[in-house]
């Protein structure tokens, strides 16, 4: 789980927030200072490109 800054009171909005030891992350979330950013753990699906066979030369 990672966090993104949502208030300029704690940093630049949009940047990732890494809480230092002792910081109450729950209070920052409740106050709207940061938001959770869900990180996908699954690999991106490969694009399903159709495979075409070369036409035989005449």
């Amino acid at each position: 789980m990672s966090f993104v800054i949502a208030s300029e009171k704690i940093g630049k909005i949009g940047e990732l927030y890494e809480p230092k030891a002792g910081i109450n992350v729950g209070a920052l979330l409740a106050g709207g200072f940061i938001v959770e950013q869900e990180v996908s753990t699954t690999e991106e699906e490969k694009s399903a490109k159709p495979k075409y066979k070369k036409a035989p030369k005449e």
Binding site: K9, I10, K20, G22, I23, N24, A27, L28, G31, G32
Partner: protein, 135 residues
Amino acid sequence: MATSTYLSSPVVTVNAVDLSDQCTGATVNINYDQLEATSFGDSSRKYVSGLGSHSVTLDFYASFAATETWATLKSLVGTSTNVIVKPTTGADSATNPGLTFTGTFLAALPVVTSLGALGTISVTFNGGVYTSDES
């Protein structure tokens, strides 16, 4: 005699939130228990340092706007957090130390309101580990 005059630039952060623009006063008490170590043969009392017992009292305007005083403090009551008080906005240095209290406890959140005046919140954080960040 050199003194420090606090006009408008001290920095106060609570739980990493910069509340300087809502703060009007800060009282930092750095205390250690004084343990007696005097023994036979001593001609005067001697003491050694015991546990740290620090506190920080901060005076704020009671702003209920988004991401202001109330939003910062409301979820901290009954929990521990970090508080930093610094003389000026400059980088940490020996002449601009960041007085840092890590794991300091907020027991109460008193809101004071009166007719025709700005509301205020005065909070006291107790305990925690004190360090002076100078670099």
